[in-house]
């Protein structure tokens, strides 16, 4: 009985309702694990890690000249969602993506939402992700955010929240696919007996999404994945997705604009490219339009895009909605564009540029998390309850100096999942990043990436800070 010592305590546990009371959708798995010896579990844990290393599911450590790749630590106890809860999440995500896409289309054309006073226009002007050169652009099929990886968290009371939308180049989906592959060999009997929704069609769905964007009338459009190169931390994923879709993986230096088309340099001369899934940021895409010192992009690519001779996924300019101040307005967007109430709530967010809210933030710095509006991935952040008075003082200064750049949110207590620690289980905090594709219609890959904070008590799930991952099972 591996789990009889495990106590979910005063947290929301994803597998247990209370001590010795597994949630119904997790009961079979818990029963199975209880029937195994600890040695057997440890052995499977090790085998799973080894398999991921052999498969090369690695990320790069930037500073390491020896070219060391590490695997994201993987834990064999999955996170489980009931299909009922999943369907609700799926509806919420689709609603959100639809509204965000309408917002992007609007903000780069008529800006009705600003004219109607729903969002103050100075907030858009000052958002770092807002790209003036994209004004008036009409991306193929009217879709801007083709690939999204929304970060969701669940608080102590079981309530779900959207933490970030990640409309630019969300990474991590390769872990979802490879983790699942490994888990099938780790718990084959469980997969036989439980109805776990498959995730394997992601690559086909992604290819369909990209093909859907190709300029019409082309019999065999050429799709490519654009990577910054082998030194990028997510290079494995770029290479993996290109391989799974059977398309070329290109770097900026492989591409050139000739005769008004984007072309790639092949051993037999130039070949036209019609759809590009780019994994480099907007700023680096075209040195003629954006950052002139970019070595990663292609000079002139934006002209081809503008002329409708190339589709780019995601469309340049989507970053404006990743601004954390703009994020705070998503509920209003849903109401404005869809005439609906949000299904998935935002984390309550205080906007420091509004005087009364700033007042509240400054008075409660010891309880709140303060985030820089244009950062992501845990950078530029103050976790009030864990910060020193000096750090809080410093942040108060920054907020007063540039209120537009900061938002604050209550500190959430993320839900937990039991995780194998040497010879016993401990609850570790997790988040969830489902992957959403917007092609002909909106598709959500069942489950998503569960990131887990492996340091005892830590709430930080980022891989750079001791985070790991788990497989996510949607169980019907």
């Amino acid at each position: 009985m591996q789990f009889n010592q495990y106590d979910p305590g005063d947290y929301y546990d994803e597998l247990f309702e209370a001590k010795d009371q597994p949630r119904p959708e997790a009961a079979l798995l818990i029963e199975r694990i209880n029937s195994m010896s600890m040695a057997e579990l440890q052995q499977r844990q090790q085998a799973a890690q080894n398999a991921l290393f052999r498969l090369g599911v690695t990320f790069n450590v930037y500073s390491d000249r020896q070219g060391t790749e590490r695997i994201l630590p993987f834990d064999i106890i999955p996170r489980i969602l009931s299909v009922r809860e999943w369907e609700w999440l799926e509806r919420g995500l689709k609603q959100r993506i639809e509204a965000l896409n309408l917002f992007l289309a609007d903000i780069y054309s008529d800006q009705k939402i600003l004219k109607d006073g729903v969002i103050p226009s100075e907030l858009i002007e000052s958002a770092s992700g807002f790209l003036k050169p994209c004004m008036g652009l009409k991306p193929s099929q009217g879709v801007w955010c083709h690939i999204t990886g929304t970060d969701l968290v669940r608080d102590r009371d079981g309530q779900w929240y959207v933490l970030e939308d990640n409309l630019r180049c969300p990474s991590g989906v390769s872990y979802v696919l490879e983790n699942r592959r490994v888990m099938k060999t780790t718990f084959p009997q469980v997969f036989n007996r439980m109805n776990i929704l498959p995730v394997d069609d992601y690559a086909s769905q992604l290819l369909e999404t990209l093909l859907h964007l190709a300029p019409t009338g082309l019999p065999e459009p050429t799709v490519v994945v654009l990577t910054p190169g082998i030194y990028n931390s997510a290079y494995f994923e770029h290479s993996f997705l290109a391989q799974q879709m059977g398309v070329e993986l290109v770097e900026g230096r492989d591409l050139v604009v000739v005769d008004g088309y984007l072309q790639m340099r092949t051993t037999r001369g130039l070949k036209r490219v019609d759809v590009i899934y780019r994994r480099i940021d907007d700023d680096f895409l075209d040195p003629q339009t954006f950052r002139s010192d970019s070595m990663l992009g292609v000079p002139g690519i934006m002209d081809v895009y503008r002329a409708g001779r190339l589709a780019i996924a995601n469309a340049p300019g989507t970053g404006v909605a990743d601004d954390k101040v703009i994020y705070a307005y998503v509920p209003q967007m849903i109401r404005y564009y869809l005439g609906e109430e949000q299904i998935l709530p935002n984390v309550p967010t205080y906007l420091c540029w509004e005087a009364d809210q700033q007042q509240h933030v400054l008075q409660n710095l010891d309880k709140l998390v303060v985030k820089a509006a244009s950062e992501s991935g845990g950078y530029g952040m103050l976790v009030g309850p864990h910060a020193t008075p000096e750090q809080r003082e410093e942040f108060a200064g920054r907020i007063q100096a540039k209120p537009r750049n900061y938002i604050a949110q209550p500190t959430l207590c993320l839900s937990r999942v039991p995780t194998l620690f040497e010879d016993h289980f401990e609850g570790c905090h997790v988040d969830l990043r489902p992957y959403i594709l917007y092609g002909k219609e909106i598709y959500v890959n069942p489950g998503g990436l569960t990131r887990v904070a492996l340091r005892r008590g830590s709430l930080v799930v980022n891989s750079s800070q001791g985070g790991g991952s788990k497989d996510t099972w949607v169980v019907g």
């Binding site: 090369g56 070219g67 082998i230 290479s239 070329e248 290109v250 340099r265 051993t267 002139g300």
Partner: protein, 317 residues
């Protein structure tokens, strides 16, 4: 296929082959020294001479002692042609085309690199003869894995082309080592010591047994003929050129004896020259001079291949 990808597969193979041949180089010298009479001073400088990097070596290490030379050619991270550097470059190239090559190829080049990296961190230096044997075997394993797991498509032909051009060049250099190795006196030429040196050289090209089957007696002229002109021995220069030409023609779609770009032409001309030249003519030109000429032509071929297939600069909109 993408020019960059073709370039990476080509260099992946060249670097693996280069690492193997450096092991052969150093090995030939170790063998020679083991057989040399005690009176003969150790000669390590000739080895550096054949690489063409003598000034760099002098600047970095000074005296050409056994340890210095072996360190330089094997484990020096800052010397771009050391075995370790070659494998790092091979691995980087492999990593950038992982979605094109087979995963077995990636695993093998990765394992190979880690093996050499581990060896470089052992002090004192590991048992060298067995280390060099492992390097050679790992390289063969890579070629075999590539042969048996990757589709024999355009990328594969670029890889094979790279490997064979590198091998032809290095066989020329291995043969040249003998030119630089001095005998104690001129009247040692043709003695038992001279013969031992030639045997060591053949062994380093894995050619001793195959040579014996063909020629029986050890004679410098026959050995040179075997390593330059033999059409069946896989490390001879001519064999490499014949096979390289096949791959090049597969890539360009050109029929034998014709050309449609500079690479076709340079390779075809060199191969034809070896088809019709005799070893006597080579000796008359001077063996060292002839080997030099081959190396220059191979460099030229490398440049032609780069310009014809890989060059990323020449396209301007």
């Amino acid at each position: 296929m993408l020019s960059r990808v073709a370039d990476s597969i080509y260099w992946l193979n060249r670097y693996v082959e280069r690492a193997e041949n450096i092991a052969r180089f150093v090995d030939v010298n170790l063998n020679l020294l083991l057989d040399a009479p005690v009176v003969m001073t150790q000669q390590w400088e000739p080895l550096i001479m054949t690489t063409g990097d003598l000034p760099l070596f002098r600047e970095r290490y000074g005296k050409a002692t056994a340890d210095n030379v072996i360190q330089f050619l094997t484990f020096d991270q800052n010397y771009s042609n050391s075995i370790l550097s070659c494998l790092r470059a091979a691995r980087e190239n492999a990593r950038s085309v992982r979605e094109i090559i087979s995963s077995e190829m990636w695993e093998q080049v990765n394992t190979f690199y880690l093996m050499v990296l581990d060896a470089s961190q052992v002090q004192p230096l590991p048992a060298l003869p067995s280390f060099f044997a492992e390097v050679k075997m790992a390289s063969h394993l890579f070629a075999g894995v590539m042969d048996a797991t990757m589709a024999h498509n355009e990328g594969w032909h670029f890889g094979r082309l790279g490997r064979l051009i590198e091998r032809a060049d290095k066989t020329a250099r291995i043969l040249d080592v003998k030119y630089f190795i001095l005998l104690p006196e001129v009247n040692y030429v043709g003695t038992a010591l001279d013969e031992l040196q030639w045997i060591a050289l053949l062994k380093s090209a894995s050619g001793y047994e195959m040579y014996r089957k063909r020629q029986r007696r050890i004679s410098p002229t026959d050995i040179a003929k075997f390593l330059i002109l033999d059409r069946e021995f896989p490390r001879s220069i001519q064999f490499c050129l014949l096979e390289a030409e096949q791959s090049l023609h597969q890539i360009t779609g050109c029929s034998p004896g014709t050309w449609n770009n500079a690479a076709d032409r340079t390779l075809g001309r060199l191969r034809a020259e070896l088809d019709f030249i005799t070893i006597e003519e080579i000796i008359q030109t001077g063996l060292h001079e002839f080997l030099d000429h081959i190396q220059i032509q191979l460099n030229y071929l490398g440049r032609n291949i780069f310009e014809t297939f890989f060059s990323l600069e020449k396209i301007h909109s």
